[in-house]
């Protein structure tokens, strides 16, 4: 099924005894295949109450009255929470935005007004899930409906309703990015290609497990324990603590297994605050498990983005000089992580291309739709889709082969590390070679013949390429480009590694994995340093902020574990290895550390291997038999390390600086066949080539590549959070929101190259999000297939069959509008 070609890698072959680089079976799987994982809805407490949120049926309305009395009188109901109480007990969430977005007053429940269908208005708690839902029916809420705005393009028109009076309009954030010399680039150009409008649609990754929490309040110490599947507890804590007027140590976050996240589980802090308030108010543990429809209506839609008035400066031979565009983001009703999407895209400003002159005028507006938040490929995917569309549109208009177009403009491997026009540094990679591998996998050499064969069968064959970057390990200093008042910069992650009393090696991570196999890859890194088996390394499952093994940016998000998490593991393990030697040196009577080595689950004298101290003895001596050790030994065998990537604060004026540490690369090639009678198409061949530097566990890496590919294909063909003009979500469950099923999957061929990052301790690069390469590849393939059949320009990222049919029937109306002028 999947074919992995042997890569010609630049990797130095690992010695046979190295665990890194091997597809070690995952430690996590044994419990998961037996149904022994502990997911948030599995956690129970005696007498706990079940929360059900009463949600707005209107996209935009004043709340004129709320009456919970009947609900509270129902037998089995423990209590309720309203926006009025929330506003009295908490402060609005801290806003990342500068003005006008900074002025939003965002609370855990709607206060005075609702702004999208599905917004939580009242929470009801009862002894069973069913009773909580019954009681919710008895909550009486009167609304005074207002007109809704659902099209971001009209959010700033005269006379439209204002969603947030506090912001004085629907503009949330605006910024202009400009690098290089646009005037010179357009003067030098032979052709100027203008693209009227491109639209990246609204969807998200719909993790199969919805959001949830079980929250207990310890009144005696004023502390909440929050069992939750939130994937970025560090962020949740800094949002929740000030709002709840409490110190962060009073918010203990605990997870074990998380049923998928993909960024969509970062912004559950409003619901978590509601849970905390209820646990305190009712004096009992409360449990919230989001319903699927609630997830679709209210959680973390991906950024919907428009690109208007795009102009591209290009030479006749296809050499790209620069572009300018106006990007418009639909943020939805609240800024829960936004407007960070307004800068995150800049991590990949030029895509994979050498153009140096770029201007992006970026605007983010509010609409009466669900709030957007990070979604796999967050904000870079939208921008990379744009750059890939530009490449293929320009290639088409100039009649240049898309492969040739890419190779002419790709940043070359000899130019790495490459500083982009905005100061990011692409660490390594060979894009052209990866493209060649992808083309070979789909037998591009014979594509003309296959096109003829398809034509003979009445099908239209198209080939499309998606070339993307998965930028990983954020420099949070980029947030200052959104709001210069913010005091974030850099990044960090924590690990502790200890030798316990019987010699057990125990690793604690600050991360919150959702299927990425952290327990396994961390063990591989530890085992190589301590010269033991991965089976000897116990990596604690999940995250607990009581473990003291987290830092401000701890979590699992933004393609960074292989850099931040594993570098922390390496750092802690190096410290432990040094301490073990120090201890052994003392025990052996003053043997210097250089004369010692770790081997076979212990430490020994190199020249005298019989002088061997097993880890069990080391652990026992330090923990339980330490009399007589030198006073100044300084050994605890319990080592904590904080990895801090080498970042500077970006130049806010120039919007210039290194925004991410590593750049994993993806080249996808799709071959599709369209039935011109219906617009239906099949993906008949597909190749995904990935380069994420040094791979710790190739099987896990390939799994991430596959998963990202499936998400991209789903988004490209079907997945869409569609709204009607009144703001009703038309795809509120898996009936209407079609995610790929087993029968939807095309044949897949994968390959990998390894270009180690020169900037990371293990040569790794963060990966997992991918760059949405499949979306770009499908768009390009559709456009290619329509060549000579109306020649429509693909201008939307979602191309279900009916849209392809429309492009065949009315290419000018259904496709994008493009013009080319000689400069």
């Amino acid at each position: 099924m999947s074919t992995t070609t042997a890569p010609e890698t630049t990797e130095v072959e690992a010695p046979a005894q190295d665990w890194k680089g091997q597809s070690v079976p995952r430690k996590e799987d044994r419990r998961l295949v037996q149904g022994q994982g502990v997911f948030v809805d599995d956690v129970k407490r005696h007498g706990m109450g079940y929360i059900h949120f009463v949600r707005s049926p209107y996209a935009h309305a004043h709340i004129t009255s709320i009456d919970v009395s009947q609900a509270e009188e129902m037998p089995g109901v423990y209590g309720t929470l309203t926006g009025e109480e929330v506003a009295a007990l908490t402060d609005p969430f801290f806003q990342i935005s500068s003005v006008p977005g900074a002025n939003l007053k965002d609370y855990a429940l709607a206060v005075g007004k609702v702004r999208y269908v599905g917004e939580a208005v009242v929470a009801v708690v009862a002894e069973t899930r069913e009773r909580a839902r019954d009681a919710s029916e008895l909550v009486e809420i009167e609304y005074e409906p207002l007109a809704a705005i659902t099209d971001a393009r009209h959010a700033q028109d005269d006379g439209v309703p204002t969603i947030h009076d506090d912001a004085g309009g629907n503009l949330m954030w605006h910024g202009t990015y400009e690098w290089g010399d646009l005037d010179a680039a357009f003067a030098e150009a032979d052709k100027i290609v203008t693209i009227d409008e491109l639209h990246f649609h609204r969807f998200n990754s719909t993790p199969l497990e919805c959001d949830g929490a079980l929250v207990e309040y310890n009144r005696g110490v004023g502390q909440w324990t929050i069992h939750t599947n939130n994937q970025f507890p560090g962020f949740a804590a800094i949002m929740m603590g000030p709002a709840m007027r409490t110190g962060l140590d009073k918010l203990r976050f605990v997870t074990q297994d998380i049923g998928g996240g993909f960024g969509n589980k970062i912004t559950s802090h409003p619901q978590l605050v509601a849970c905390c308030l209820l646990a305190r108010k009712l004096g009992r543990a409360v449990q919230w498990t989001e319903w699927r429809t609630d997830f679709h209506m209210s959680m973390s839609h991906g950024n919907e983005r428009w690109f208007h008035e795009t102009e591209v400066a290009v030479k006749s031979d296809g050499t790209l000089l620069g572009f300018r565009t106006k990007a418009l983001d639909d943020a939805g009703a609240w800024l829960r992580y936004e407007p960070l999407g307004g800068v995150i895209w800049a991590q990949v400003t030029p895509g994979m291309y050498k153009w140096r002159n770029i201007r992006v005028d970026f605007t983010q507006v509010a609409t009466n739709k669900a709030p957007v938040s990070p979604n796999r490929g967050y904000s870079r995917m939208q921008h990379l889709w744009f750059t890939e569309r530009v490449i293929d549109i320009v290639a088409k208009e100039l009649d240049i082969d898309p492969v040739e177009m890419r190779k002419r403009n790709y940043i070359k491997t000899e130019d790495m590390p490459y500083e982009t026009p905005n100061g990011c540094v692409y660490d390594s990679g060979d894009y052209a070679r990866m493209l060649d591998i992808g083309l070979e996998l789909i037998d591009y050499a014979n594509i003309d013949q296959r096109r003829l064969e398809a034509t003979a069968r009445g099908k239209l064959l198209g080939v499309g390429i998606g070339s993307t970057l998965d930028s990983g390990t954020n420099n949070f200093g980029q947030s200052r480009m959104i709001n210069s008042e913010l005091q974030f910069s850099g990044n960090n992650e924590v690990a502790t590694v200890k030798l316990d009393i019987f010699g057990e090696i125990v690793v604690t991570l600050g991360t919150t994995p959702q299927g990425q196999g952290h327990e396994t890859t961390a063990a591989q890194v530890v085992a190589d340093i301590l010269k033991c088996s991965v089976d000897d390394v116990h990596v604690r499952a999940g995250h607990d902020s009581y473990w003291n093994s987290h830092a401000g940016f701890s979590g699992t998000y933004a393609s960074q574990f292989a850099v931040t998490g594993l570098s922390a593991v390496k750092g802690a393990t190096d410290l432990l290895a040094a301490e073990i030697k120090k201890l052994a040196g003392a025990v052996f009577g003053g043997v210097p550390e250089e004369a010692l080595e770790l081997a076979d689950g212990g430490v020994r004298i190199k020249d005298n291997p019989d002088a061997f101290l097993p880890f069990m003895a080391c652990g026992a001596i330090i923990n339980a038999n330490n009399a007589g050790l030198p006073e100044d030994l300084g050994v605890t065998l319990n080592c904590r390390y904080v990895y801090r990537p080498p970042f500077e604060v970006p130049d806010i004026e120039r919007k210039f600086g290194n925004l991410t540490l590593t750049y994993a690369t993806q080249i996808h090639v799709a071959v599709i066949e369209i039935d011109p009678e219906t617009g239906a198409y099949d993906i008949v061949d597909y190749a995904a080539v990935d380069d994420c530097g040094k791979r710790i566990n190739p099987q896990i890496v390939e799994g991430q590549v596959m998963g990202a590919t499936a998400h991209a294909l789903g988004a490209a063909t079907h997945e869409h959070y569609a709204y009607d003009e009144d703001g009703n979500l038309l795809t509120p469950n898996f009936y209407d929101y079609h995610v790929p099923h087993a029968l939807d999957m095309p044949p897949l061929k994968t390959a990998a190259t390894e270009s180690p990052s020169p900037f990371t301790p293990l040569g790794t690069k963060g990966m997992g999000e991918g760059g949405g390469a499949g979306i770009h590849a499908i768009c390009a393939a559709v456009q290619d297939a329509l060549r000579g059949h109306g020649d429509a320009i693909v201008s939307d990222s979602c191309n279900p069959y009916h849209r392809v049919w429309e492009m065949l029937q009315a290419p000018a109306e259904a496709g994008g509008r493009v013009s080319v002028v000689d400069a």
């Binding site: 999947s2 044994r30 419990r31 998928g260 299927g515 596959m706 009936y735 087993a742 999957m745």
Partner: protein, 157 residues
């Protein structure tokens, strides 16, 4: 005046253990299994019968246990993911999932394993298309399914 009965006692045998419980008539089988019996291996992913995370085998037939009321399972024999392993030893299908990296977050996995179990009982050597058809009622958002097909194929050999 007659009163409406809203609950009744049911007897269900799950993985060889017989449970007798009073349940609300409207309680779904999956909530009975998870909430009342604390067998939390079977999961809930959609509430609408689309995702298959709650798949179990009832009297030999594969069902989505969110599409059945607990009272409908009165007297039935139910198999869930907790019953697959032989003591500490994974069965062939579980081992194949592990070997082929057929799971990431593991949330869909119990339902996927039960669907694959039902498939292989009915058709011990399925073709690739038959595997896809056998698993089409189960959504996985992590793997793209490719490794799951490989695992089921390996378990059938």
């Amino acid at each position: 005046m007659s009163t409406v009965t809203t609950s009744r006692s049911i007897k269900v045998t799950i993985n060889g253990t017989t449970y007798e419980r009073e349940v609300e008539a409207r309680k779904l089988l999956i909530h009975f299994i998870r909430d009342d019996l604390d067998l939390t291996g079977s999961h809930i992913g959609c509430d609408t019968g689309n995702c298959g995370a709650c798949s179990v085998i009832v009297d030999g037939s594969l069902v989505k246990s969110c599409m059945l009321l607990a009272v409908q399972a009165d007297g039935a024999t139910v198999e869930t993911v907790e019953g697959l392993a032989h003591g500490d030893e994974l069965n062939k299908l579980q081992q194949a999932f592990k070997d082929h990296h057929a799971l990431q977050c593991g949330y869909c996995t119990p339902g996927m394993l039960m669907s694959a179990t039902a498939l292989l009982r009915a058709n011990p050597h399925p073709s690739e298309d038959e595997i896809k058809k056998g698993l089409q009622g189960n959504i996985c958002r992590c793997t793209g399914y490719w490794n799951i097909f490989e695992a089921v194929k390996a378990a059938s050999e």
